[in-house]
């Protein structure tokens, strides 16, 4: 059953920074990096979140307080019940070899999960670039340090690491280094820029897209992308280079709550 639910108390809440918290639940989730779950707060609503870690008997998401739903979540305490369904969607392919990851802002959670899995798989070399506006906004700096063979940091204001974007760092690295594949997860504009760079270096890539999702299971049409009718919640959110080439909406437009089209 695609909509099977687990209703669980919040097991732990970790403050990552002022606007981001990691919520952990004790429950089994058979998920791969890049997949997401639909999280219900009773009497409030339901929203999609990427999985940032899965252990034998627990899983967790890192969530940004950005609006009514997440605000309500941030007011909740250990032990309060929420409900989770999923995991949904397609994950990053788990390739070994020479791997680059480029992440930005609060979209880095699936890359953290991916890094862990790739290390388990025995990846040859894993290089990560972690970007955010300020040092304070950076996620998982220590985790990536441990999980990756090389870990770069970029901040818009230069408060930590390279001053500039993660895509800037990506460009620099690719000048003298080569990879088998790059995994990209960040704001859509940043991903668009990263894709241009990857293309220039003929580097196969996978991106992690976000669209408004109501059902998560390919029924409501909210997340569908033009002109191919790609159903992001089921066939994404991880999209490879070939598929992405067919999605004119990428970096251009998405759909809002009523299904109306909005230019990004």
């Amino acid at each position: 059953m695609k909509c099977d639910r687990q209703t669980l108390p919040i097991a732990a809440i970790r403050e990552e920074n002022t606007s981001l918290r990691t919520f952990t639940f004790n429950g089994k989730l058979n998920a791969e990096p890049g997949q997401f779950i639909m999280l219900t707060i009773f009497s409030q609503g339901e929203k999609p979140f990427s999985i940032q870690d899965v252990d034998e008997n627990s899983f967790s998401m890192t969530i940004k307080n950005i609006g009514p739903f997440t605000d309500r979540l941030f007011k909740m305490k250990d032990g309060e019940l929420v409900s989770v369904r999923g995991p949904y969607g397609q994950s990053f392919t788990r390739k070994t070899g020479n791997i680059l990851m480029v992440g930005g802002g609060y979209a880095t959670p699936p890359l953290r999960f991916l890094a862990k899995k790739l290390r388990e798989d025995g990846v040859t070399r894993l290089v990560n670039i972690n970007g955010a506006r300020t040092a304070e906004d950076l996620l998982y700096v220590d985790d990536f340090e441990i999980l990756c063979h090389q870990s770069h940091v970029a901040t818009d204001d230069g408060s930590l690491g390279h001053k500039g974007t993660s895509v800037g760092v990506m460009e620099n690295i690719l000048k003298h280094d080569s990879f088998d594949r790059v995994y990209i997860s960040g704001p859509e504009k940043m991903m668009k820029a990263a894709v241009v760079v990857a293309k220039k270096h003929a580097l196969p890539y996978e991106v992690n897209l976000e669209r408004y999702m109501k059902c998560g299971v390919g029924v409501c049409g909210s997340c569908v992308m033009d002109p191919t009718g790609f159903i992001l919640c089921m066939e994404g959110p991880i999209v490879d280079n070939e598929t992405l080439d067919g999605l004119d909406d990428f970096g251009v437009s998405h759909r809002g709550k009523t299904g109306h089209k909005i230019t990004i």
């Binding site: 059953m1 695609k2 909509c3 099977d4 639910r5 209703t7 639909m38 219900t40 009773f42 009497s43 409030q44 609503g45 339901e46 929203k47 019940l81 409900s83 369904r85 109501k214 059902c215 299971v217 390919g218 029924v219 409501c220 049409g221 909210s222 569908v224 992308m225 033009d226 002109p227 191919t228 009718g229 790609f230 159903i231 089921m234 759909r255 709550k257 009523t258 299904g259 109306h260 089209k261």
Partner: protein, 301 residues
């Protein structure tokens, strides 16, 4: 075969509310093997619909309380134009309003577009809090709305009926008498509640939802057969079809074409091809040459 004058390659039709917001989904469903596609029900103004969860599963089907999320008729019809610009296929535009005047305004807009068929959603159980009882349960409302729409529509008009009607034969007859060119039967069954026992709460944010999927098939077939016996207009049979045999049974009961909704959830868009293949195999084995040979051939015991 033909349905309401349109030539279609298969009787299989995407039901309203499934994916049908954008031209790209609608085109994709045609490419995936549907003969016709129905848009999500469009209203004059955009609607956000209900908060999630809007869908829940149970043993036998789905309940949903989408609440008629849609970008409004203007943007909806833009998608229909884009659809027709890119592919050959029949589009049914579903509309719903709060009263006959709304329906007339919507129907005019649809008539001004490249839409092939107009469907009046008179039977959504998910907006009862807002719009009271579905029109499809109120004979005078059906007559009022359908005849008002027919006065302005030159394209064929389907009226979508509710399984909650207590006397479907009477409803079907008066809908035909009001001028409907065809019936879509059935909308979701109102209402079901799926409970989360751990949380002691209904799963849906909206508490209740319309019931669809395999479990409503016997109800749909019974109602379609009842209507088929008393009207001469074609029926777009909808409700729980997920296999070729389901579709054949429903056509035998009187459906002239078949809507597919929840099966897309259960089996993905490949379901159109698999239903078509299963239908063809059955027809070959049992000696039916045309889809139309199946319509209404059921004999009662």
């Amino acid at each position: 075969m033909r349905f309401l004058g349109k030539e279609i390659s298969t009787p299989l039709t995407l039901a309203s509310g499934i994916l049908g917001i954008s031209f790209s989904s609608l085109q994709r469903v045609i490419r995936d093997g549907a003969g016709m596609v129905t848009t999500k029900s469009l209203s004059i103004e955009p609607r956000e619909g209900h908060e999630g969860p809007i869908i829940a599963e149970f043993n036998g089907g789905l309940i949903n309380s989408v609440g008629l999320t849609n970008p409004g008729i203007a943007e909806g019809l833009e998608e229909v134009e884009k659809f027709h610009a890119g592919i050959d296929g029949v589009v049914i535009v579903s509309v719903f309003g709060a009263n006959a005047a709304d329906f007339v305004q919507l129907s005019k807009a649809v008539n001004d577009s490249s839409a092939d068929i107009l469907e009046l959603n008179l039977s959504c159980p998910n907006v009862e809090d807002e719009f009271k009882r579905p029109f499809a349960l109120m004979p005078d409302k059906i007559t009022e709305i359908v005849s008002a729409v027919k006065a302005v529509s030159t394209i064929p008009v389907l009226a979508k009926l509710s399984p909650n009607a207590n006397d479907i034969s009477a409803i079907a007859k008066l809908t035909e008498a009001a001028g409907a060119d065809g019936l879509t039967m059935i909308n979701t069954l109102g209402h079901g509640m799926v409970v989360d026992a751990v949380a002691k709460r209904p799963v849906l944010r909206n508490n209740i939802g319309g019931i669809s999927g395999p479990c409503i098939k016997p109800l749909a077939i019974k109602l379609i057969h009842d209507a088929f016996k008393v009207v001469d207009i074609p029926i777009l049979g909808t409700g729980g079809v997920s296999t070729g045999l389901d579709a054949i049974e429903m056509m035998m009961a009187g459906a002239g074409a078949i809507g597919i909704g929840s099966a897309v959830y259960d089996h993905g868009l490949e379901v159109f091809k698999s239903i078509r293949d299963e239908m063809e195999t059955f027809m070959e084995v049992h000696g039916y040459a045309e889809y139309s040979d199946l319509i209404g051939i059921l004999e009662e015991n």
